[in-house]
Chain length 241, copies 2
């Protein structure tokens, strides 16, 4: 199984999509001789699916077709060489994956046929067991929480320690600590902007464009700041990857 | 019907709970000769229900009993002189209101028996038709979106325009715009820290401790910055209040 679980799409307003992960993605594209990818675009609300696909073509140098053009989306997933799952609204994305009957097809091609999965922001959230650690607003009237579960631990993307001056809402740390209080047997891996986890052949590695670490949140334990994935050994059952 | 819909509990780390609304709350307490209130504490995750009740007693100068001590919570709501709904996690609060069978009892005493409802942050969210405009993390495995609907329009509490440097997640404006894109017939009133909406006898007023305005978000229309509730006339069916 190969997963790229990225915190975010663009590292700054004018950077290219996935630029900070470009070297690793190009290595994968060359290693696997990938010539095309399917984009799962459903998280995008106020943007254009086809424009996002074009941006990715330019960024990755391969053909990218958005799944909304497919007459049979599940079949298109079955024929994909690579699956790209865009950020946007996590609730919308997860609901569409369920409504379009894509949960099982994506799990199958990624797990059983070793097709790589590249997801950023919302696309990273839906790769975990559920979307309970999303930062997004639940804008849909109907909601489903269970998600793809390709990666066995909840991830919080776009993780940030800072708090805006004068803002009295919960900090991100408090929100994640609340998650751990309500779900004491689970843990949360919080990844900062410009960073990603890479699962490949049962190995888990971590990269940050800014040289920053990630955090692990667990109930009744101090939050742990980590620089590499050794700290995840007891947390992530590598045999599942 | 009388509602206090407050953006937040504390205006700074060391201020007293609800301090910025104290004058208006004291006016209501005197006008209605209120001697006690019931606290709905379920949004609090990593705090103590009884300590929150004590804080409110000190702040408001009336007896406050937390609903978790009541053998029959619905009955306790039925006998309340005033209902205080604390902030915390909106998902947890809304789920508990449903699980404890409190949705109908609260609606009844507030609408039919004119018992005042004071809700801040999560307690403000659940007073609207649904919790689709919460900022909180959906930490519960099960979720319910419909809420009390005492106020007919979605509110986004803790509203803030600013964005932390380097953070590439969606801005609050983008999240609310996504809500409006998916729910084009609805609108969202965004209230900043230290501000509240007050519904009393079919009148709707607005107060901000910092003299700031609120915002109205609607689909396919420019976001409107407002200083008073005149702008809400076409949006809020006052006859429902």
């Amino acid at each position: 199984m190969e997963l790229f679980l990225l915190s975010n799409g663009k590292i700054s307003g004018d950077s290219a999509l996935l630029s900070y992960a470009k070297d690793a993605l190009q290595e994968m594209i060359a290693r696997r001789q990938i010539t095309s990818a399917v984009l799962v675009p459903y998280a995008i609300i106020r943007g254009n699916y086809d424009e996002r696909a074009k941006e990715l073509e330019q960024s990755l140098g391969i053909k990218v077709s958005s799944l909304h053009h497919a007459g049979n989306p599940a079949e298109a997933i079955g024929h994909a060489q690579c699956i790209l799952v865009s950020g946007g609204n996590t609730w919308m994305l997860n609901q569409m994956l369920h409504e379009q009957g894509l949960i099982v097809p994506i799990k199958r091609v990624v797990r059983e046929r070793n097709i790589p999965y590249v997801g950023w922001s919302a696309g990273c959230n839906v790769a975990t067991p559920s979307i309970r650690t999303t930062n997004d607003m639940p804008i849909r009237n109907s909601v489903v929480l269970p998600s793809l579960g390709l990666f066995p631990v909840q991830i919080n993307p776009h993780y940030i320690d800072a708090q805006l001056s004068g803002h009295m809402g919960e900090t991100r740390d408090e929100r994640i600590a609340e998650f751990c209080a309500i779900n004491p047997s689970e843990s949360v891996i919080a990844i900062r902007e410009g960073s990603y986890l890479h699962v490949c052949d049962g190995q888990l590695s971590y990269f940050s464009a800014k040289g920053e670490g990630f955090k692990i949140f667990r109930h009744a334990r101090a939050t742990q700041e980590c620089q590499d994935t050794k700290a995840l050994a007891g947390l992530v059952p590598f045999e599942c990857l």
